[in-house]
Structures are given as structure tokens and as C-alpha cells.
Symmetry: C2
Subunit: 323 residues, 2 copies
Amino acid sequence: MSHTIAVIEGDGIGQEVIPATVKVLESLDLDLEFVEGEAGDAVKAATGEALPQETYDLAAESDATLFGAAGETAADVILPLREAVDSFVNIRPAKAYPGVDAVRPETDLVFLRENTEGVYSGHEDDLSEDLSTLTRVVTTSASEKLAEFACEYVDGEGFSVVHKANVMRKTDGRFRDAVVRVADDHGVETDEVLMDAFATRVCLDPTQFDTIVCPNLAGDVLSDLAAGLVGGLGLLPSANIGDDNALFEPVHGTAPDIAGQGVANPMATVLSAAMLLNHLGYSEESDRVETAVETVLAEGPRTADLGGDADTDEVTQAIIDQL
Amino acid sequence: MSHTIAVIEGDGIGQEVIPATVKVLESLDLDLEFVEGEAGDAVKAATGEALPQETYDLAAESDATLFGAAGETAADVILPLREAVDSFVNIRPAKAYPGVDAVRPETDLVFLRENTEGVYSGHEDDLSEDLSTLTRVVTTSASEKLAEFACEYVDGEGFSVVHKANVMRKTDGRFRDAVVRVADDHGVETDEVLMDAFATRVCLDPTQFDTIVCPNLAGDVLSDLAAGLVGGLGLLPSANIGDDNALFEPVHGTAPDIAGQGVANPMATVLSAAMLLNHLGYSEESDRVETAVETVLAEGPRTADLGGDADTDEVTQAIIDQL
Ligand SMILES: CC(C)[C@H](C(=O)O)[C@@H](O)C(=O)O
Ligand SMILES: CC(C)[C@H](C(=O)O)[C@@H](O)C(=O)O
């Protein structure tokens, strides 16, 4: 079966790590067709729009999308793209790799972040000179959908439900109740942790947690916290999963300080592509790509962010050589 | 000048650390009058109300309040109490003390958390079987008031403004604009950091930051994250400051696992009392109390949470002996 992959480089090092990753994917000789789309600061400067309609449509119509990064326009690009692929969950693994400097090298977490609502639903109003409001939305249906996915994802293990229902009683209360109910129905164990307590506890001992199911903003902040514990955003992949469609992106941004020099680390994007392969049913190839990255991490070469002096091409070639 | 201090032990180790702290305050021979009020789980079980009106009134009418902790009813007690004292800012220092096991021993931060609005303003509605909303409120006036306080607090230094205005454009945009404008007017330097990026960066290197000014929930979560970096909530004090009134509380909770045994560490509450003394104008005594705690931390005795075997009374007496 042939798959169409939308490829959106975006800005900065997106223009380096995405072509590198496409090379890795091409070396697998699968029946993948890559179609390029444009988005980001440069497109906005040229056309007035950070995300042209045709890029939105491309993502919506492809089997999967690989996205790099956008600069100032990040929110204008990534939030509509997540919607274009109808993604209801953002999967964010945060795993410390051996040999990579980490505050908490024992960290191995996966965040399943609700990807459609919470404060991201975006109804804001200026009600007076002095006052603005934002309407935070939580539905049982979106919470249940996330929970169904989580139950399948954990494959017999339990998960933690992280929320702030002691303050956001109706909204996060609804979220918590729906998630726990679905988990109970599936015989999946859950433990509940308040969002603030989670922030303390994960620093003290990340091995207390495995899979974390949480609302949108909590997932944003707490997964970035976990990124801090594993040594930074540099290696972290992510997936936005919808029913018929999905988008994969490194967690890092455009890295303007090193963009254009050909020295960016492609690994977070390559690991995102491994998630893409798995999503399309190429689970054996997905494992091979992940293992290849781990081998290169262990044996080198390494880019500057990991203390090496290899460039993007050398690391990309080393990954391909390991496949 | 005589000051009336409302003293609310609450539940669990609140009933141990508050009396210990009152002993420390009494040993200073200042003109302080202590008046006890009740709140928390036990009061709710007995009377149906976690925060009786007379305790609310006591906090509102006293010059300052010292609060311990509440269990299940924490939100029902602390949120109205913060309102009773009209507090517009929650000051949360997170400093790693020498000799205390910390993930990031170089951490020395102070969070100035907006204390009246954001998601805490609490307008929630169940709009249908499926959907609940929460109205997040941000006003220019509350943001400016916090910023005015921050400018005075940092005393010539700059501060970081942490927000999520790339998603919450009108509400956090209003917050950011107001805070930065006030800082500019005072010639105070600011740098802006997105809330998620802050979570990563503070783990990687907490020395990048000093004073952080942020909305209510951001302050809740990010100060608890910082607590994780300094080794836990055990030593952290906090202050809720209003124009004519204030409330001081340890960041830790009721610690049900050790409550009733007389072995709780009183230091977070004693440090909260040091903030209280400073607030009432006893800055010399405030410094003495803080130094006494630091000396006992360095020389012992220590409670079990810090690897020692002293009980609450011994540590309290050691602090008093250092004054
Ligand atoms: C760019 C921004 C809108 C986005 C988010 O908040 O989701 C980013 O922080 C992320 O987590 O991918
Ligand atoms: C108990 C809870 C309502 C409270 C808060 O969210 O403010 C607590 O977490 C805190 O930070 O003091």
C-alpha cells in the first residue's frame, strides 16, 4: 500500500532536519510518496499567511505529515495543523538516552496530552478596557476519546491522570471523571495526581510515573518539564494522532542560533519519523530506525548539542548506515 | 505597636508546626497577640464547614495570619483565606539550602504569583451533558498591581515575566503587556519566557532566573516545579500579601504519614513566620529567624525528612537557642 506523506520544513533548522529525515525514510525503500508544503515565518513574510490554505489541505489529505518547526508564527502554524489532521492526542515521550547529560537520567515517561480543547479552544474576549476572558472548554467526549486511546496505548499497564480538579472543579473534574471511568471499564489502573504536585514529584523521582494522561496545557508544560529532566528538547519526538490522519514533529523549535549552518541534530525528527512509521503500520521499520538512532547516540558521531563536532549530514549518514 | 496575629493550625502536621513556630515568635518578645482560629477537614467533619465564617473574619481583621495546612479541604480553606486577607500576590521563594539533598542545589528563585484571578477566579458552568466551561479572567488592574509590587520587590534588579500569550493571546497578552509596561515605567528590566519553555530551561539551569512574575496557575505549577529542584516542599515558606493584611503558610501540606508523631519539620513554617515579621516591619528579627534556621540546617539537629532523628521540639528549641 502506498502512503502519501506531507513534508513541511518550516523555518530555521526545520529546513535541515526534515530533509535529513526524509533521506532516512527513503533509505528504507518503502512505498512512501513525499509531497512538500510551506509554512512558517518566511511564508508569512512573503505571502501574509503563516499557513497557506494549500498546506492545510495537504496535511488534511495526506496519510501523515512530517513537520519541522516554525519561528514567531509557531502557534499560527502548529495549532491549525493539529486540527487539520484531526488529532485528538499529542504523544510526547520523554526518555533520557544513555550517554546524554541529563538532570534525571532515569526518566522514561510518555505524556498523552489532550489535543483539541482546554485553554487551546481559544474563545477569548476583551470584555472591557480592563478585563479579558478566555473560555476553557472540556468535554466528556474528548476526554473519553483520549482515555480510550490511552487504555490501548498502555497495553495492560496503568497510567496517571494529572489534572487540577481541586480548583477547576467542573472542567478538570469532568476530565478526570471521564478518564477514570473509561479506564475502569477497561480494567486499566489509574492514579490521580494534581498538576502542581506532579511537577514537584517528577523532579524528585521520575520513576514514580510511566504514562501520564492530561489536559492540553498541562501536557504542554509538564512534558516540557520532563524534557528539562532528560537534558533538553533536542532529542524529543512527538506525534499528533487523529482517526485517519496524523502529524509528527520534533518538540524542539527553529534554533535560530545554529540555523543555516548544517550542524543541527536531526535525531528528534528521525525519532518522530519512527513514530510515523509505527503509525502507518511499519512497526518493524520503526523499531529499526529507533535502534539505529540509539546506536549512533552510543557510538557517535554526534552533533555539537551532544558534545560532538559532526554535522547533520554525517549523523544522518551514520543513522542510515545502521539501518 | 501591637499586632494581632491570627493563627490557624488546620489539619495534620499543621497542628505541630504552627505551635512550634508560635514558640519561636514568642521567644522574640515582640508585642504580638496570637488569636486562634479553626479550619480544615476536622472542622468540616464536625460542623459541615471547612472554613467557618468566624475564622474568615479573624483572618480579615488581624494584622497577619499564620496558617498551617489543610487536608482534603485545602482548596476550600486556602482560597477563601487568600481572599479574606485581600492578597494580590503570592510570594514563593525556592532556594536550595546547603547540605540539603537537591536535584539543582544552585536554585535560588522567587516566584511572584498573581493571587486573585486566572483560572482561580472560578466561573465554571456545565453547559450541556457533554460540556463544561471555565472562564479565565485577566485584568489590567490586577496585572499592574502585581507588577508595581514586583518592581519594588526586586529593588533595582530585573525580573522574568512568564506567560503563555502565544496561545492565550488576549488574556495572557493583557497580563504581559501590563506587567512589561509598568516595569518599563519604573526602569526595571524584564525578559519574557513562555511557560512551557520556562519549565524546560529552569531544569537545565535555574541560575538563568531570579524573580519570576506570572499568572496564578503558572505560579502554582512552576513554583512547585522549583520545589522539586530544591529537594521538595519541606523547607519552602510562602506569603500572600494584601494592602492591609497578609497570610503566611508553608508550601507543604498536612503530611498524613507522619502527622501526630511530633516529628514534623517546623522550618518551612518558621521561615514563613520570618516573612511575616518582615512584612510587619520587624526586619531585623526576620533576618535573625532566617539565620537561626540556616544555622540549625548546617549544624543540626535535623528531623527525619532531612536525614536526622530529632523531633519537632528539639529542632524548635535549637532554632530558639540560635536567636
Ligand atoms: C507553539 C505552541 C502553540 C505549542 C503548544 O503550546 O502546543 C508548543 O509549545 C508545543 O507544545 O508544541
Ligand atoms: C490547595 C490549592 C488550591 C493551592 C493552589 O492551587 O493555589 C495549592 O496548590 C497552593 O499552591 O497553595
